[in-house]
């Protein structure tokens, strides 16, 4: 059995208010301990903002700057430039945002920062909706998923953020999953060692938002990876694709069936999703030369 091999250096504290069983907290723990003490976090409104904060307490050992929803990447840019001016060019600036702050409201700031290739490490915790405010749809919500604002299921597909970012030709874009903490830690470490804009999108199965059991988020994330719904891959320089988990042996249908938000799907909708997954997978695999 492969051991999980990152070390907890005490960068993330107990007592935070993430939901019981939330794997965003598990991922934060991996990221913060991998990045280490010489770092500053910039956090727009999101679940992360709630988990890190709760005035007057902080669950994060490094300094955290809470900014506005539309300006995560812009604020991170400012913090990084200020640190450079202050003679601390090696301090890592993390931007920890949700999919609302990345795919929707923060996209302009992120696109601009990426275009300027600002030296920031941007993490998107993608739980496929505005889960912190009661579960409304975002442009990351997958097709047919029920949310508070799409009670009959969302009619459009999930935005392909990874390839939007790749189109900026930034040094590093990757996906990661809480079902593979070694892979996640390795990607954070790798991105931290690079100059310029790095983005890692992490799939976070949301327990109340997706309608799954408290102890099942890792399992659901694993199913997403194994079924090909959420492939684990990296794109370097916008063109160089690598797949990190190159077999597709899980069932899409099973992945959908365990989530309440997909419970209403009919066979046609399921097979249409399966086709999309196959096509996306094949396109990435072709680019990665798998």
């Amino acid at each position: 059995m492969e051991q999980i091999n990152y070390t907890d250096e005490g960068q993330f504290f107990s007592g935070h208010v993430a939901c019981a069983g939330c794997v965003e907290a598990v991922s934060l723990r991996v990221i913060l301990n991998t990045v280490g003490p010489d770092a500053v976090a910039v956090v727009p409104p999101s679940c992360t903002a709630v988990i890190c904060g709760g005035y007057p307490f902080s669950s994060v050992k490094i300094p955290v700057y809470h900014t506005t929803l539309e300006s995560g990447a812009a604020s991170a840019t400012g913090v990084k430039r200020a640190l450079v001016k202050k003679g601390k060019p090696d301090t890592t600036v993390l931007c920890l945002a949700g999919d609302g702050g990345t795919y929707d409201i923060g996209l302009q700031a992120l696109s601009s920062a990426a275009e300027r290739n600002e030296d920031i490490l941007y993490i998107c915790f993608d739980n496929e909706g505005y889960m912190n405010t009661g579960g409304q749809k975002s442009s990351s919500t997958p097709v047919n998923a029920v949310t508070g604002s799409t009670p009959a299921g969302k009619s459009t597909k999930k935005k392909n953020m990874i390839e939007i970012l790749a189109a900026h030709r930034i040094p590093y874009v990757a996906t990661a999953s809480p079902s593979d903490l070694n892979d996640m830690a390795a990607k954070v470490k790798k991105a931290q060692g690079m100059k310029g804009t790095k983005v890692i999108i992490i799939l976070i199965p949301c327990l109340p938002g997706w309608g799954v059991a408290d102890n099942s988020a890792v399992k659901i994330a694993r199913m997403a990876v194994e079924s090909g719904v959420f492939p684990l891959f990296e794109i370097e320089g916008g063109l160089d694709y690598t797949m990190n988990y190159s077999s597709k042996n899980g069932s899409v249908k099973e992945y959908l069936s365990v989530q309440k938000r997909f419970r209403h799907l009919n066979e046609d909708q399921i097979s249409s999703i399966e086709n999309d997954v196959d096509e996306d997978w094949q396109r990435i695999a072709d680019k990665a030369g798998v």
Partner: protein, 548 residues
């Protein structure tokens, strides 16, 4: 009026001030429940634990854990009927873990390295007589010596081992393995008396007067007689005699073609031994082929050795014409009864046939000789009656193994010897030797997170080639190599045995699990009770427990 710049809000403490443990209704509990292999094991062996030690490379520790319940790992690794493998959770993913092959690997290594049992830590004046030096008696001797009792062993044969020596052929169990594992028990300080028969109630009573307790494990050495067969004829040989003589390397006088009657393990031993002595062998069984009491692998190997099976039939009469013996047989319908060994048969009219042969070896089971003690010990059917503590109707006299039970596998006898030793110890001295409660549920397959265990076929120990087998009495089953054994050990799920993998610790979203030197502890101030640690445990060692 000048406007003041907004005062920044600074945090002044960590979130550890917030006790999220109050959210919880259930908390993880490191239970280490028994694995199904342990539940099935006749000696209650801590199988998952010693297999883990093989994986980690500490073979001596593996042997020590193994020998806790069974002083015969090398023997059991060869001949155990391995119900552990049948119940292994891994069966539901791909194939069972080869537990017996691994047990043999550890057992053989212990013999090769000359590892010995430690001397008892206490010494007691209480003395116990063990009658019968077979698997049950020797197992009792071993456990009683470990507990510090004085032990005298009385064996009516000239060598120890009982069925292991006189009933199991060398191609299944090499004699030097048997000698090695027996000697290691004797070396713990057992007072051995050979050629010492306890043949009557008086002799038993006398023995009881000299000792504080007696353990009777004389086995079942008297063969059941097949009706309609004249045992006095030169072409008939009782199976126990046949095995005892061939195991003692005496010549066999029976002719070229032989019929073995019976479908049990002993019948397979007889048939395969006769094959090695150059005979053509046919096995005649009442049971249809898929219901033979012998272990499947024994039947398969017998067939590989070109033994012919005539199943679902019985002998009705015999015609003798010089060297030529004709068995008049008939096909039967076989109906399994409820209890083990119970059945009814209905001959199928018109299905008569004949088997022509030169000799017959009936092998239809063994009975214990109980008549010699009938004044002293009550019996129940074919065995001595005992209570749950293996005590007979005479207080202070205990019994076990084939003489007191119809559970007739070798390892069941070893288990009974162990249980009786603890029962005797509890009666005679305040010893604590509590094993886990039999009421504990076994770890089910459903709680094993199989995403941490990749599918991998079993590393099966090879058999020697059939042609080579028939030339000698060398062992058929070959050992696993070192690398095969370690790889096989790594297939074990370690059901219910914490392997210190840190998954619970590193998957906790709340940093509520702390690492200790040999385990983990849950911080109840912060654990929110999500159960992620339980879900991601690869061995099913943790369970959620509701809190009141």
């Amino acid at each position: 009026m000048t406007q003041q710049p907004p005062t920044p809000l600074w945090t002044n403490d960590t979130s550890e001030a917030r006790m999220t443990g109050t959210w919880r209704s259930a908390m993880p509990n490191y239970k280490n429940l028994p694995s199904p292999c342990r539940g099935a094991c006749p000696v209650g062996g801590r199988i998952a634990e010693w297999i883990r030690e093989i994986e980690l490379g500490d073979y001596k520790k593996a042997w020590t854990i193994l020998a806790d319940n069974n002083p015969f790992p090398s023997i059991a690794g060869r001949i155990c009927h391995h119900p552990c493998e049948t119940d292994c959770n891994r069966n539901q993913l791909d194939e069972t873990v080869g537990i017996c092959n691994l047990e043999r690997f550890v057992g053989d290594l212990a013999l090769k390295e000359n590892w010995s049992f430690p001397a008892p830590t206490v010494s007691r004046d209480t003395s116990i007589a063990v009658v019968g030096g077979g698997p049950a008696g020797l197992s009792a001797c071993y456990q009683l010596r470990r507990l510090g009792f004085k032990v005298s062993l009385y064996e009516y044969q000239k060598q120890l081992g009982g069925l292991l020596r006189y009933g199991i052929p060398a191609y299944r169990l090499e004699k030097k393995i048997l000698d090695g594992e027996i000697q290691r028990i004797i070396d713990m300080g057992v007072d051995v008396h050979l050629n010492a028969e306890v043949g009557s109630a008086e002799a038993l009573k006398e023995l009881h007067e000299k000792h504080d307790a007696v353990y009777l494990a004389t086995g079942a050495s008297r063969s059941k007689n097949l009706p309609g067969l004249d045992y006095s004829q030169s072409w008939v040989m009782d199976s126990a005699d046949f095995l005892a003589e061939t195991n003692a390397e005496m010549a066999c006088d029976l002719g070229k073609d032989l019929v073995v009657i019976g479908g049990g393990s002993a019948a397979m031993d007889v048939a395969r031994t006769a094959r090695r002595l150059g005979r053509n062998v046919t096995v005649l069984t009442l049971e249809p082929e898929d219901k033979l009491p012998a272990h499947e692998v024994e039947v398969v190997e017998a067939k590989e050795e070109e033994i012919t099976f005539v199943s679902g039939a019985m002998m009705q009469s015999v015609e003798v014409n010089g060297e030529q013996i004709t068995l008049k047989c008939i096909r039967v319908e076989f109906l399994q009864g409820e209890a083990r060994g119970q059945f009814t048969i209905n001959p199928i009219p018109g299905s008569e046939f004949e088997l022509v042969t030169n000799g017959v070896i009936p092998s239809i089971g063994q009975d214990a000789d109980l008549s010699r003690w009938q004044d002293l010990l009550n019996s129940e059917g074919p065995v001595i009656s005992t209570d749950k503590q293996w005590q007979t109707s005479t207080p202070g006299i205990f019994a076990g193994g084939d003489v007191a039970s119809m559970d007739r596998f070798v390892t069941q006898a070893i288990g009974m010897g162990k249980e009786a030793a603890f029962a005797i110890a509890r009666q005679l001295a305040p010893v604590s030797n509590e094993t886990s409660s039999p009421d504990d549920p076994m770890v089910p397959y459903s709680v094993i997170n199989t995403s941490y265990h990749s599918t991998l076929r079993r590393h099966l120990a090879a058999n020697s080639e059939v042609e080579a087998r028939l030339q000698t009495f060398d062992e058929v089953q070959q050992p696993l190599s070192h690398d095969e054994a370690v790889a096989e050990a790594s297939r074990c799920f370690s059901c219910g045995t914490c392997i210190l993998c840190d998954n619970c610790y590193l998957y906790c979203p709340d940093m509520a699990i702390i690492k200790l030197e040999d385990g983990y502890e849950v911080k109840d101030d912060y654990c929110k009770g999500c159960g992620l640690c339980v879900a991601e445990c690869p061995t099913g060692s943790i369970a959620m427990q509701e809190e009141k």
